[in-house]
Symmetry: C2
Subunit: 258 residues, 2 copies
């Protein structure tokens, strides 16, 4: 095979799983938004989420999920369960998953002690200073840090706090390929584009081609999303998809590059 | 033990897992809202979600998740991947998970054929008529049905369609206990309530007591949520929590019963 027709070397993907901990997500009381934020932010860092799980505040469920995910993906990011109340058991569970003790972090204790409080309130707050032996800290500009041990990163569940924690990890994680995207919308039904779309997918097997139907103002439409690491391939695929839309009598609208 | 002091018989819980299938959720392009809807609707049916997973459009990932979840929970509800395009592989994966063939459902085919279309468009649409051998159908008033096989219920990813499908299951699933809730909010920090809250949780071990902190208009607050099947226990626990709030100098606001 001539060198100039060889396929580009497959870029290194760094993968992650997200573990969302909390009864309130599974009961429908709280709408999770952390997964979508993490997905976008981690892709900026060159890390791709390949699975997410939501588990209740039950130790055996959390430990099992942590151990299943940390052996399978490069990183695990957890959200929730690191506050001061009895139902905040994430630190205990991570320690159990790694088979290590919980210890008091002097750095976190010092941060917690900055704000004076009666002894019983301070004692409750100190629950947040407990981390698995050997863990490092994740910065939190407005409160107690999160922590990481091995490839597992443990963050708050409150979106504002979780976002600040993951933002503070910029430049501190192993970087893989960033996935880029192209998308285009047409007022054609999915079944109209399906056959040609499958052919285009076969021509670009290294790029994911997703098809998302919608109904708007009484018209059927489909948004076609291409995701991959090969920018030239993405542009060529977008061109092929746009041409398909034109040939089917549609109009390619809302073209986006990400 | 006298009969009138015996603990109430533990109600039968019927459990479920939700499996959300789709790259667009893991990439952050689409915000999932199906889990929260399912949680509330299934609780009306007396079914409790105990785990959720989000997996990409990859056969091995989907099959593995289906088999892990269907053996562990009473029901599995999947969303996504049942449309007419190449990336809609859920039916194939469910058939593979159960070790059965895919067959064409004459009922679904008849529904699809009601709307005329050119042969290639009809052929694409017929992809939605393929179901695992032995599967039953889930009604969809506006389009092709979903299906179920064993304890696995397979529904669309589009929220409006998924909602109609799960609504159509009313009265058709095994019914367990419905979980009721009480919640109350106070402008007290979590660490202020933590110690007393742990004691109250210990007094009512059969009711989940969750603590959800927030910051609003510069004030720290905490919402306390009690969930369980014992209505009298819930009322007594709400009373204990409200008394705690008063004793700590707070005010119990936004009391809700669900």
């Amino acid at each position: 095979m001539a060198a100039d027709t060889a396929a580009p070397a497959a870029p290194t993907l760094v993968t992650a799983a997200v573990l969302i901990i909390g009864n309130e997500i599974l009961s429908g009381r709280t709408q999770d938004t952390n997964l979508a934020y993490l997905a976008r932010k981690l892709n900026e860092y060159g890390i791709q989420i390949r699975q997410a799980r939501v588990v209740p505040d039950i130790e055996s469920d959390i430990v099992e999920a942590v151990n299943a995910l940390r052996t399978r993906y490069d990183y695990v990011f957890t959200t929730g369960g690191i506050g001061p109340t009895h139902d905040d058991i994430t630190a205990d569970c991570i320690a159990a998953a790694f088979g290590v003790d919980l210890v008091v972090s002097p750095e976190i204790a010092a941060i917690l002690e900055r704000r004076p409080a009666p002894p019983d309130v301070m004692a409750a707050r100190m629950r947040m200073a407990r981390i698995p032996r050997g863990a490092g800290l994740i910065d939190n500009p407005q409160g107690p840090p999160g922590f990481f041990i091995g490839n597992v990163y443990v963050m708050a569940g409150i979106p504002r706090v979780m976002q600040q924690m993951v933002d503070s990890l910029a430049g501190k994680l192993r970087r893989g390929a960033t996935v880029r995207s192209r998308s285009v919308t047409a007022f054609l039904a999915e079944s109209q584009v399906a056959s040609r779309l499958g052919q285009i997918q076969d021509e670009y097997p290294h790029i994911d081609l997703g098809s998302y139907p919608f109904q708007r103002e009484g018209r059927y439409g489909t948004t076609l999303v291409m995701r991959g690491t090969d920018e030239a391939g993405l542009d060529a695929m977008l061109e092929a998809v746009s041409q398909m839309i034109a040939e089917l009598g549609g109009e390619a609208v809302d073209v986006q590059r990400g």
